[in-house]
Amino acid sequence: MTDELQLIDAAKAGSVSAFADLVKSYRVRLLRFLLTRCASYADAEDAVQDTLIAAYRYLYSYDPRWRFSTWLYRIAIRKAQKLRSENVVEIGDLSDEEADPLLHCIAASDTANLWVSARRVLNDDVFTATWLRYAEDMSINDISKALDRSDSWTKVNLLRARRALETEMNRENNGSKVYG
């Protein structure tokens, strides 16, 4: 039995400290992902908190056949979707560094961040699939589970996303259309 499964069992039994240890390494990763999906840094933090609370509350429903990270991201994706549906500010409308939390967090970088372009040209689900694949190194199968999509959908859309991003990388002008 791995350490993760032992922590999961302890957390299921009601140990908050075991759960805190379990999710410790995921918190920053979740915040980074949710930051790309939320309209403000505060919203992203709230989404991380909501995700972890929901994960702790419904830990009994976790199936050990899944990777824990897949299950956790599935909850995070739902929280992000819920937040976005409630939020009146569209992320695409946040064009300046002050307003856009993602731009704010990469402002120190001297080169353009491809995830900013990805957010502009990919739709929500395709962006998430791309993130899980390239930022989280998830397998196609895990991405499909996290997004509740078929493996074929994931493969096809990851390929299309790559092409769209390659085009975006090579493009000199800024005129673009939303992909997906």
Binding site: A11, K12, G14, V16, F19, A20, R27, V28, L31, R32, L35, T36, A44, E45, V48, Q49, L52, I53, Y56, R57, Y58, L59, Y60, S61, L102, C105, I106, A108, S109, N113, L114, W115, A118, T130, W131, Y134, A135, R162, L165, E166, M169
Partner: protein, 134 residues
């Protein structure tokens, strides 16, 4: 790892975020106030062993009661009156009909089979009429 995959991975790592102490405290405080849900199936498993014995015994008792009730009803049931015998005089006046018509083999189309059957029926009628003197 190809160029685009590498750039996506590097760019994701360059998104500068950190869990603040305030957020950390907030998360811990929230978790302390949450009770993990227990699946509904667990409550079924937590029933005492005597529950299943009691259920089984109740079922057996109910079955025995039903059997006993049915048996007691059949014992008290009155014997039905015999049907009145048919007078031998009437029986003698009714001619016996000797049905010797053979059934047609259904090997041909249905319309033809029907015609054959009707013909058989007609012959049988004529035979009956001859026998009873009509």
């Amino acid at each position: 790892m190809d160029k685009i995959a590498k750039q996506l991975k590097d760019d994701a790592a360059r998104i500068d975020v950190q869990i603040s102490d305030e957020l950390d405290r907030r998360i811990l405080a929230s978790l302390q106030g949450v009770t993990p849900e227990i699946p509904a199936t667990d409550t079924a498993r937590q029933r005492p062993a005597t529950f299943w014995w009691a259920s089984s015994l109740t079922g057996v008792a109910a079955a025995l009661l039903i059997v006993a009730m049915i048996n007691s009803q059949s014992q008290t049931e009155t014997v039905p009156a015999l049907a009145p015998e048919i007078s031998p005089v009437i029986v003698a006046t009714i001619p016996t009909i000797d049905w010797k018509a053979e059934s047609a083999m259904l090997t041909r189309p249905l319309q033809q089979e029907l015609e054959d059957l009707q013909e058989d029926l007609k012959k049988a009628e004529e035979k009956v009429k001859r026998e009873i003197g009509l």
